[in-house]
Amino acid sequence: MANVLAFAEQKEGQIRGVAREAVGAAAVLAGELGGEAHALVVGAPGVSTGAAALGAAGATSVAVAEHAELGDFHPEAYATVVAAHVRDGGYGAVVFPATIMGKDLAPRVAALLDVPLAGDVTELKVDGGAVSVVRPVYAGKAFAEIRLAATPALLSIRPNVFAAGSGGGDAAVTVFTPEVDPSSWRQRVIERKSEGSGALDVTEATQIVSGGRGMKDPEHWGLLEELRDALGAGTALGASRAVVDAGWRPHGEQVGQTGKTVSPSLYVAVGISGAIQHLAGMRTSGTIVAVNKDPDAPIFKVADYGIVGDLFEVVPRLTEEVRALKAKG
């Protein structure tokens, strides 16, 4: 019998959607392990406001570590707070979201607790009291089932894969003030820039419109931006390595073996040939659509739906039809 902790990531004081997914995954594990799902939120004073709502995602109780210095992610300080909380709680497993923050934080917590970590997990189960996970390896070209022998079992879950749980009403919330000593910090964010509104990371998008060399020129990206906007909130722009290497798009958008691995519910590949390194990064997407003028392009082998044609004719029409559909509701 063991409880399971979910690290509930917040950004600018708002608990994120991936936090509910982590709580959902924790609730599944807790059910198997015969315990309860708890959540931990770390942030600035006031962040506790939305904490009770994690009850609806499956948490029975939520601990909130509030401190004026913890509004933004500070890796060392967060790791110390999380590790101490895990130790004190005697948890059987801990679930992190495999976001940019989670991927930085979880290994540090693992090192502090001296237990191994399985990252970017896409499935989980409990077998004879031990947690097993499935995680993509070789950039998605194979899946490894891994048994976590140590306690607590530490894992991070790939965004968009696990559903938020369904709990009763509000969770019980306990707020505490951790000890934080910024004078000991060895690193600090000194500047933050945001790339305008709507720049959602590909790993967290539920829909991705991705462009390749077939786009011909970075100036044509307006076409993809319009399709993204038509598809609505939760849609991000992605790119093949060819266009990132050409300097047309930032590396943060690159999907594939040396970019990000994504599993949105919809992936639209425009003017992308479908090289093995690209497929590695997106083949677990829900529905894949390809637009390519070459009927033999390998992308059509993984696409659920393909249109053979000139993207400069097909994409504007697609945007128009999607808009019309959305307008109808």
């Binding site: 890796p75 970590l117 070209k141 082998k301 393909g306």
Partner: protein
């Protein structure tokens, strides 16, 4: 300035993964191995760091079997000065790898230790921050470029919807991602020189891996898709299928 780079030998990214007979590992016959691409960026970053400072050594460290010599020679040919191969098992447990590396790195006076952001085989994205935590060093992950001035390293990082500049106090650990450091090709002269550069081999500190790979399987096959049609006239049918059949929009 002295810089250490941890590098890993991985299958070429072109490799189609076949499952070995044990059902738990990759079939390696006929597979070409390379230095993990992100580690190449890290080696390039280290070399530029040394060049900018005008002095110092770039030292490579790897944990692996004797065939990892090849990976180290590749880095030496790019311009690294020395290398050490810790001969030992590489398991799925990144913490065990981190500890084996720390046993070698502990006590080093190199102000910078660089890692790739992730290894192209296990993709764990964890060994760098684990080593930093175990050594009590600052650690910035996912660095696209950095500059050293005095005892501070200023790092540029991409985050969801934007970017950050992070300053860390040396000694520090950085994990490098694609960005400013397109790896140089080894010149013929570099390849010749690499043969004479010091490459030490020693037994790795024995670390028990606590993540057990039970099975390895190919990704689920995607059902054969359909070509909806040709040109813009196929779009209405595509949109209908996306809504009614796939429930995707």
């Amino acid at each position: 300035m002295n810089v250490i780079v941890c590098v890993k030998r991985v299958p070429d990214t072109e490799t189609r993964i076949r499952i070995g007979e044990d059902g738990r590992s990759m079939e390696v016959t006929g597979v070409k191995f390379i230095m993990s691409p992100y580690d190449e960026y890290a080696v390039e970053a280290a070399l530029r760091c040394k060049e900018a400072a005008g002095d110092g050594d770039v030292r490579l460290v790897t944990l692996g079997q004797t065939d990892s010599q090849e990976t180290l020679r590749q880095g030496l040919a790019m311009g690294a000065d020395s290398a050490v191969l810790l001969v030992g098992d590489v398991t799925a447990d990144g913490l065990a790898t981190a500890k084996a590396l720390v046993a070698e790195l502990e006590g080093t006076d190199a102000p910078l230790i660089l890692f790739g952001v992730k290894a192209a085989d296990d993709d764990q994205q964890q060994v760098g921050p684990m080593v930093a935590t175990l050594m009590g060093r600052a650690c910035v992950t996912g660095v696209v470029s950095f500059e050293v001035s005095g005892d501070v390293v200023r790092c540029h990082k991409e985050v969801e919807g934007g970017s950050e500049v992070i300053e860390a106090t040396l000694p520090a650990v950085l994990t490098i991602t694609k960005g400013a450091y397109d790896p140089r090709y080894a010149s013929l002269k570099g390849i010749m020189a690499a043969k004479r550069k010091p490459l030490d081999e020693k037994a790795a500190a024995a670390m028990e891996g606590r993540l057990e790979v039970v099975s390895l399987s190919p990704p689920p096959d995607r059902a054969a898709g359909k070509i909806v049609g040709t040109g813009p006239d196929a779009v209405p049918e595509l949109v209908r299928l996306l809504r009614e059949e796939a429930n995707a929009i």
